[in-house]
Symmetry: C2
Subunit: 142 residues, 2 copies
């Protein structure tokens, strides 16, 4: 499942965007929605990867059995999404470059799987080194 | 400022949507972005009012001095947005129909102003009475 999120991150990078990718999977391994950060591409500050994947999945009555896969620890915005809609499991590529709200999700009973993936880290770290102001803008840091 | 959010909620209702509206104001009273819930209109489950108003404001380097105005207590998703991007003040039309995460925002140092507005309550309560399944879908309740 992480490979899908990484492919999304790479697609975002190729478009000149921030390389973070995500996908929402159903219990049986079906991809319900996938996407990547689109702040640069769409001028949309709400287009974080997880929210983009969630949007791509369209309307659903419930999120039972789904898994949100993301290349990076989700920020408060995307953690709020996961908690509000009851996505029961989150698979995270890495948490070292950015530590978002996944501990808060774990405390609320959501299952968190941490992978510490080197490819996810390298992709984002190289981008941040090249475009620090853009990264800070994306997470609301001044 | 609440009048802008209420006008957005009414516009959403007129389109057949969920009547929740929001606006992001700058320190000097300028509207940076405004919008309403667009789940029905766009088939977009991420289009909560606050997120729609935030998106409409476009990219910004920081949110110092801004106020998010909304007709309803923000859910976890929209609270996460407010916290992640450092929106320092939230003005809320009512919290009785739905109690989201505004206490959590207050604990993190964000200034919360509660209004208990009858028009906001009536608009949403009448809608929920008429379309309970749609409302439950919008907040991820099964």
């Amino acid at each position: 499942m992480l490979a899908t999120a990484v492919a999304e991150a790479r697609a975002g990078l190729a478009e000149g965007g921030i390389p973070i990718g995500a996908a929402l999977y159903d219990f049986d391994g079906t991809v319900l929605g996938r996407g990547h950060n689109r702040r640069v591409q769409d001028g949309d500050p709400s287009a974080h990867a997880e929210t983009t994947a969630f949007r791509a999945a369209g309307r659903r009555r419930d999120y039972r059995g789904t898994t949100m896969v993301t290349t990076l620890s989700p920020c408060w915005f995307c953690c709020g999404l996961i908690r509000q809609f009851g996505i029961p499991r989150v698979l995270i590529g890495e948490t070292r470059t950015f530590h978002g709200g996944h501990d808060w999700l774990a405390q609320s009973g959501i299952r968190i799987v941490l992978l510490d993936d080197a490819e996810c880290r390298t992709l984002l770290r190289e981008f941040i080194a090249a475009r620090p102001a853009l990264w800070n803008e994306d997470i609301g840091h001044e």
